[in-house]
């Protein structure tokens, strides 16, 4: 069994999602080779060579690969797919964009958002916003799999795999990258943060996220998340959305502030180790999943929380 893991990176370095998807690939067993496709991505390819348990790194260069656009990247993966029994990628927005194309071109049904590897052809995955877990067995000759990164630990380093240059498939020229607006922040990324503080509709404004959530997040070294309602209202950027159709997170500590606990939100955070809910409505469904619930007005509770954390020297 040979597995091709599609690395997620920004050309300079690997994203944490790659290390987590590697754990899932290791659970499937067999030889693992990593594809690093990009533009000036030699550094990321070198980093991939240092991942634990990787047999080989395939490094593909091309201007069309710079932004991991789906059409050229899927064409490349399909051109390389021949010898592999499985092709695996993290279920990030990049993986979700590219991998179903690969699956369709190979005439394979993709297994999306795998949360557990049972064996090389059998996987667990959540359906209905995580209200049910399916165990599915693939009957396709090649498996195309995306991995829910919150469900797997990061694989280690210490390997020294050879890096082989592979020719980029030709760019079909269907789409061009125009630009991006990436949120800049010194905080940890949502999907790899140890602690997350999230705000909901009750935050009422973007400024209140700054005034009330940020000081608490600063003291905890936390990432900041949001409910859909907060994002829709423009209080928080789209990439903060936690939930069924946003990011799925599983930090050590998740603090939900002014969030009611709709099933779509719970789907994105209910596997957190410890959940704290702060809500002024004691009937709010969020309390059903919270380890610690505080019935309080957030506009009082958050400044107090920042002060208490301050007393701990944070």
């Amino acid at each position: 069994m040979t597995i091709l893991l599609v690395a997620e990176h920004d050309n300079a370095s690997l994203k944490d999602a790659t290390h987590k998807a590697l754990s899932a690939a290791q659970a499937m067993g067999g030889d693992i080779q990593v594809l690093v496709a990009g533009e000036n991505a030699a550094a990321a390819a070198q980093e991939a060579a240092g991942l634990a348990g990787v047999a080989k790194v395939l490094h593909a260069e091309g201007a069309g690969l710079a932004h991991a656009l789906a059409e050229p990247l899927s064409a490349l993966i399909v051109s390389l797919a021949g010898p592999y029994d499985a092709i695996v990628a993290p279920a990030t927005t990049t993986g979700k964009n590219v991998m179903p194309r690969v699956a369709a071109l190979l005439d394979v049904m993709q297994i999306s958002d795998v949360t557990k590897v049972v064996s090389a052809d059998t996987f667990e995955r959540p359906i209905y916003a995580g209200n049910a877990t399916q165990t599915v067995q693939s009957t396709d000759a090649k498996k195309v799999v995306t991995v829910r990164i919150a469900a797997f630990p990061a694989a280690g380093t210490g390997g020294s795999a050879p890096v082989e240059t592979v020719g980029g498939a030709s760019d079909p020229g269907l789409s061009t990258f125009v630009g991006e607006e990436l949120s800049k922040s010194d905080r940890p990324e949502l999907t790899s943060a140890r602690i997350i503080v999230s705000g909901g509709r009750a935050m009422q404004s973007r400024e209140n996220f700054t005034t009330y959530i940020e000081p608490v997040a600063d003291k905890l070294g936390a990432a900041i998340g949001a409910s859909r309602a907060a994002v829709d209202a423009g209080y928080a950027p789209n990439d903060w959305q936690v939930g069924q159709t946003g990011k799925v997170v599983a930090p050590e500590l998740y603090v939900a502030v002014g969030i009611s606990g709709a099933i779509q939100h719970l789907a994105g955070m209910k596997d957190s180790k410890v959940i704290v809910a702060i809500n002024k409505d004691e009937e709010a469904p969020i309390f059903q999943v919270a380890d610690y619930g505080l019935v309080a007005d957030l506009y009082q509770a958050l400044p107090e929380l920042a002060a208490e954390l301050g007393k701990l020297g944070r």
């Binding site: 656009l69 991998m99 789209n238 004691e282 309080a296």
Partner: protein, 249 residues
Amino acid sequence: MKILVPVKRVVDYNVKIRVKPDGSGVDLANVKMSMNPFDEIGVEEALRLKEAGKATEVVVVSIGPAQAAETLRTGLAMGADRGILVKTDAAVEPLAVAKILKGVVEAEAPGLVILGKQAIDDDCAQTGQMLSALLGWSQGTFASKVVIDGDVLSVTREVDGGLQTVKLKMPAIVTTDLRLNEPRYASLPNIMKAKKKPIDEKTPADFGVDTTPRLKVLTTVEPGARKAGVKVGSVAELVQKLKSEAGVI
């Protein structure tokens, strides 16, 4: 230009589903069904493009049982011009849905297909990308903004780090994200009018598609529930518990 909008009939997003105790699946008897919310956003976007003079006809298509006609009627009541029901009682996986849609696209020749980014039942998030690959078209997934300029489509996409904008050659595939628009409600007169709009019936066989599943579902179970927690009386108590009991700060 014609716009095709695939719409899926799914369990309503407000329903908390029940898993059958024998592990054989999700209990769908007497459960409220609705149009997949992302597909409502797709219908809305198509209608807005038509209203802006960028499109001439909006066709909705659904693959599913006879009742999927109700889902099509919802789209027609919103303002779509006609519907296509590809009737089957079998469970159809995204790969087979994409193959059927490819057949529909070849018959209808739309310039744009707008799908939802994911169906909220299977949570697969595959069909649009698969259709795009099968057709050899461009794709703009997770769209929060769509602008047509001649034969170029500019799509702003919601990605993990923020927003990305791409330009696509048309014909193209778009999949909708939540912020693309807010779907309209159908007015009563439009609901009445929709009853007279045509719905064409087809079968997967008409498009030569074998819908045999590629994934065998071995079991469907309820995920483990969380242990009930406690209410704390004050912020000070919360911090103390997080520190000494949970050990997370």
